[in-house]
Amino acid sequence: MNFDLPKKIKPLVNNAHQVALSVFRPISRKYDRAEHEYPKELDMLASVLDGMNDGDPTSSAGASQTGKGRGKDTGTGVKNGANMTTCLGALELCYGDVGLLLSMPRQGLGNAAIAAVANDEQLERFKGKWAAMAITEPGAGSDSAAIRTTAKEDGDHYVLNGEKIYVTSGERADCVVVWASLDLALGRAAIKSFVVEWGTPGMELARLEKKLGIRASDTAAINFNDCRVPKENLLGNPEVDVAKGFAGVMETFDNTRPLVACFALGCAKAALDRTRELLAEHVKLDYEKPIGNVSAVEAELYTMEAEWEAAYLLTVKAAWMADNRIANSVEASISKAKAGRVGNYITLRCVELCGALGYTETELLEKWARDSKILDIFEGTQQIQLLIIARRLLGLSSRELK
């Protein structure tokens, strides 16, 4: 048993931290105000990250490196691999700015999906492409089985029809991983993911959303009208296995939920650290004093710190399990649920603790409080995580526990 991070991870964490402070923070407010403007400063950074990814996956900070068993296999012992390093790198980058991380070229959730389920030929073909992820539809949010976008087989193509919303970096990316059904009558089992490249006829940008937070990150709505996608762009197995059902596409979440949990942790850490700085003259943090004997502000700071650390360790645990090929669906959901709500609670409370200073745009606290909300929603809302955890614990089906 050991809870401290290995030395080999420290350079990565430090690099990401430096990027957060020197690249993201200085432009954080600028792109919060200039919604939909492309943060051109990221291009340079993305090239640097690509270099790091090519050189040594364990020092990368990108979503493209998650996935089971793609890290170097160093024997039979315990591993601290790509899932853990990716999570910790993302945490540090979100300490800088969540919206800017989401806007990082070639580090989209679509890239994570490709990393998780693509075959070797696809991995090679989509290498270097920026892939966004399109799941949600106007009538299907958390209930992804209710997807109405269809993919009909036609010769050596699938023909896609439907409307996708909330596609992060959907316009900026090179391609979009689209969830669509091969046969609506067969339910979840028929839902597959397809890589659709921009420029494919029938793929059309509908609009960019105006949002509460993460404004640096564009959120696209995309329509597909008789959009013909080559058959070899289907990720995973094209067979509809009703018995296996949804498992194929859902297993991506086991890797990406801890990652999004880390987004929430990075954002919350930024708020907590800044609040402590601002309050430095007014509080004296002393871990020898019982928490019942300190001021209300101090007690709140200790409590937030404890909650943050708990969420952090649950998340590292979920990533560690993925690295060590231990089934982690429940732990991934636990990490996402805990980090999502703790992140939101901390950022909002920090605004309140700092009063008008926290609420106005001089500080970034109010921005972090707006950014954090989405992290308890996307990649599975708080309530969806609770359902997943409860169903598993209670041994209930989705029909029994709705």
């Binding site: 315990v78 404890a306 649950l314 609770l386 526990l401």
Partner: protein, 435 residues
């Protein structure tokens, strides 16, 4: 609140001792209660002195065991095969012995001799004493003790405290004791009938702080004279050996005091929970001990001594909260309302999901703090955070456990009401145990 007109009137009535009037007003109970409060500190039992501790062999220097080795610096949640074997046998004991006897022990306010001797068969005490002093320990592993506490706490917290209390004293002597102190006291813990023993830190003081004790130890020549009162001391009436924290002129210190020492007595003040621990106040009236009885040598760290105790309570709470979770899952699947199991409702299911999240959150913080302690790293901040989280989440889980069973949960027919009472202790206790 100051005494008002009603208060003065009651005082008058009480003085008059007018039984008929009191009964007519329905106030007899109340008045009797007041009378009881006034006199309860009068109840005393002397502490136990059943044996003479003597050194079999001399040690040249204190025996300090090393922590189990770590071969890599990787983040790793695995426990060793040996730890898993210990967990399995302790969990079996918790399930077969502690759980069925929980209600009875709570009512009796003590852990039965049968239970304590059954616990001895687990051999845990041998792992607290170094090999050179007759025990079986070649390494000192707070993590292993923590896992034991978690599993005992899963069975029943009150009895778990009674079992862990003597182990805590042995652990503290192994970690901190001087050569003479170890040679004198530790061999007995590896004997056929190890002594009952307890650590006394917490006091019934408002805004209590273990770093600023009201119990005083005043140096007089080669002795210390101790005065004060300790609260919630496990096995207080039966223990043959105590580690008692008291304020000296150079800060808080811990003294080894044998049961039966003049001036040492156990009071009577039953608590809301962990009643099976046989806890009582421990009263010190001019208790005189030799200066050599002050625990430790130059390497003694009182803060760590306290934190290793608070973390033991946290580990018990993790186990007990896991017990609540394991109990409500089948209950809510079986209990039907409106024609279907109540677990089909999100309002119920989400409480259970929250329990699962928070019990693992507690576990992560406790495991980290203790694993750092074992590795000889600083763990003050980690222990503080573990306690801060555990006291909140444990009580939330305790109260949700009763809530999910509804009226059933409120009765002694089901264990959740006892767990509710037991789990409140985590936020109250400082030390009293030692990993």
């Amino acid at each position: 609140m100051a005494k008002d007109a009603v208060g003065y009137a009651l005082t008058g009535l009480n003085k008059m001792a007018s039984s008929t009037l009191l009964d007519r007003l329905g106030l007899r109970r109340l008045v009797e209660r007041v009378a009881y409060s006034l006199t309860r500190t009068g109840f005393r039992v002397i502490t136990t002195s059943a044996r003479t501790f003597s050194s079999g062999k001399k040690l040249d220097k204190p025996e300090r065991l090393t922590a189990p080795g770590h071969t890599t610096d990787l983040f790793d949640l695995n426990i060793t095969d040996e730890q898993q074997m210990i967990r399995d046998s302790v969990k079996g004991f918790a399930q077969e012995v502690l759980r069925p006897r929980g209600e009875e022990a709570d009512a009796a306010q003590r852990t039965s001799d049968e239970t304590l001797s059954a616990a001895l068969e687990l051999g845990l005490n041998f792992f607290a004493v170094p090999e050179s002093l007759g025990g079986a320990a070649s390494e000192r592993s707070p993590v292993t003790t923590m896992l034991v506490a978690e599993d005992l706490g899963w069975g029943d917290m009150g009895q778990a405290v009674a079992i862990l209390s003597p182990m805590g004293v042995a652990n503290a002597l192994t970690q901190w004791g001087s050569a003479d102190q170890q040679a004198r006291y530790l061999p007995a813990f590896a004997g056929d009938e190890p002594p009952k023993a307890a650590i006394a830190v917490t006091e019934a003081q408002l805004m209590f702080d273990p770093m600023a004790l009201s119990t005083m130890a005043v140096r007089k020549g080669d002795s210390y004279v101790l005065n004060g009162a300790k609260a919630m001391v496990p096995l207080a009436a039966e223990a043959e050996l105590f580690l008692i924290a008291a304020q000296t002129e150079d800060g808080p210190a811990v003294f080894i005091v044998e049961g039966g020492t003049d001036g040492l007595s156990a009071g009577d003040d039953p608590a809301m929970g962990v009643r099976a621990s046989g806890q009582r106040p421990l009263i010190l009236e001019n208790v005189t001990v030799s200066a050599a009885q002050r625990l430790g040598t130059d390497d003694f760290d009182y803060r760590k001594f306290v934190d290793l105790g608070s973390l033991a309570w946290c580990a018990l709470a993790v186990g007990n909260c896991q017990a609540v979770l394991d109990y409500v899952v089948p209950y809510c699947n079986e209990r039907k309302a409106f024609g279907e199991p109540i677990s089909y409702r999100q309002a119920v299911a989400f409480l259970i999901a929250d329990m699962a999240i928070e019990v693992d959150a507690m576990r992560m913080l406790v495991w980290r703090a203790v694993s750092r302690a074992e590795q000889g790293k600083d763990f003050k901040r980690e222990a503080h955070m573990a306690r801060t989280l555990c006291k909140e989440k444990a009580m939330k889980i305790g109260t949700d456990g009763v809530q999910l069973l509804g009226g059933h949960g409120f009765t002694h027919e089901y264990p959740v009401e006892r767990w509710y009472r037991d789990l409140r202790a985590v936020g109250v206790m400082f030390s009293g145990l030692h990993l």
